[in-house]
């Protein structure tokens, strides 16, 4: 099974209790697969109770990338969270576990 790991680069960080992840296609021809695979339900389902708010998906056609916003996803925000990854830096890589949805 092809995973997002195989077709995308990623960088993530925090703003308050929001985790923001940029997922970038390694090759332009994989951008449409990124869009198909990174849906709000798929992201919520992956992280389960680590996401208490909404998930929003923003395509960036100009750079073949998708910004994924996960609200209420940092256990109260960097300063209050009980997690070791206080700023959600590792959660972006977690997204790369999602399978690539074929056409």
């Amino acid at each position: 099974m092809t995973l997002l790991r195989d077709i995308a680069y990623v960088r993530s960080g925090d703003k308050g209790d929001v985790v923001s992840v940029g997922v970038i296609a390694k090759h332009p021809e994989d951008y449409s697969a990124l869009l198909r695979s990174l849906t709000a339900p798929a992201v919520k389902d992956l992280f389960g109770d680590w996401i208490t708010g909404a998930v929003e998906i923003y395509p960036m056609d100009n750079i073949d990338a998708v910004v994924v916003i996960m609200r209420g996803a940092l256990g109260g925000g960097a300063t209050r969270t009980l997690r070791l990854d206080q700023t959600g830096k590792a959660m972006g890589n977690g997204l790369l576990r999602l399978p690539v949805i074929k056409e």
């Binding site: 680069y9 990623v10 960088r11 993530s12 960080g13 925090d14 703003k15 308050g16 209790d17 929001v18 923001s20 940029g22 997922v23 970038i24 992956l46 992280f47 389960g48 109770d49 680590w50 929003e56 923003y58 960036m60 056609d61 100009n62 750079i63 990338a65 910004v67 916003i69 609200r71 256990g75 925000g77 960097a78 300063t79 209050r80 009980l82 997690r83 070791l84 990854d85 830096k89 590792a90 959660m91 890589n93 977690g94 576990r97």
Partner: protein, 454 residues
Amino acid sequence: MKKQLRLGSGSGFWGDALDPAVELLEQGSLDYLSMDYLAELTMALLQRQRLKDPSLGYVPDLTTHMRELLPLARKAGTTIICNGGGANPRAGAEKVRDLARDLGLTGTKIAVVEGDDMLPRLDELLVAGHDLTNMDTGEQDLAALRNRIVSANVYTDSSGIVSALEQGADVVIAGRVSDNALYVGPVMHEFGWTYSDTYTDRIAAAITVGHIVECAAATTGGMSSRFSDMPNMGRVGFPIVEFDSNGSATVTKLPGTGGRVDEFTVKEHLVYEIGDPSRYLMPDGIADFCKVKIDDQGNDRVRLTNMAGAARPELLKMVVGYEDGWIGEGMMFFPWPYALDRAEKARQTLGERFERLGLKASAIHFDLVGVNMLHGPASPMPDYDPSEIGLRVAVHTESKAEAEKIRRACAQLWIMGPGGTSFGTPMKPRPVYGVWSTLIPRSYISQTVEILEA
């Protein structure tokens, strides 16, 4: 008027390396070196220091950094712009002025930019009945936290920096200006831009470029998904921007330094810690990251064109920091064989100890280190017997004494726990600061600038 400016990114956070900034001043032929030191949490920590001692509250790195950087900057004719003033820009600037005198750099003009600190006016804001809803949680009653509030700072625009540069500053020391204004300020000053419609897209370009380089090594290979391919990251070069007066730019770095600037190092940081990419809100304007064209020209040069945006917002972000109890933490590691079983039993045992010690906690969180600490519910359980597994526990309490119980309970497992367990050094409880982000009208903010001459 100059057609092109050279700006360097000298620091991405409080604690960043100094040697790349030194190299930039020695070899970069820079007009400006911008240095960011602040994060959301930092202001609360610095304000606490200031409350204990009115001569503190600036970023401690400020003086050690300036001792190295000032002589080089003066020699190169480079102006340094930083937010290292933190919660006390005036005290920081006075220290830097004294330092400049010690270094024989008399005549150096150090600008203090103030006006972001809303703590003295917080009650006025509360009484005025402004909507100070928490942007993250929707909570509304900030007044209920009043006696726990330690800081209130507004992310201000670059007008204070522009004014400082107009007055001939060699070093600008600001507090909680937006990180981004450290780059937008010099560009607006040098090119004579104002907030009128004529310049909206060009200011948006400066915002975009500032965002791309403000975390220093994060644009030159640091944090990259391709980190294993990045050359000599231990002597990474920080980014340089060549900013054109028409609102286009090139991101590059010094030849011979480690790391890389290419299409992906720039893309990776364009998407970093943003919300809706078509509306990146900064106090100086709103940038649309969905328009920029990124052109990798090779040799560590990436060209940015077609940047655009919208006029600056009327509301500014204010971050209120408040005391929010304590976190107690513990960690221990279990060896093969059956490491996972030992971790599970240790977790159960800790739960019993917390009960026996009468722990009062508002939240208890366990991680299996090596299994699910970083990805939580997204992590699969191992289908083999791992060489080692850790157990981490973190607990939120109201008092330090309660948080101490975590350290005690974990230490008690030294003998009460599974055989072969390794504990390392016990962790001390740490105070927690909550962050309440809200919006206030721009009209509340007036930045002031004063020049201190060495």
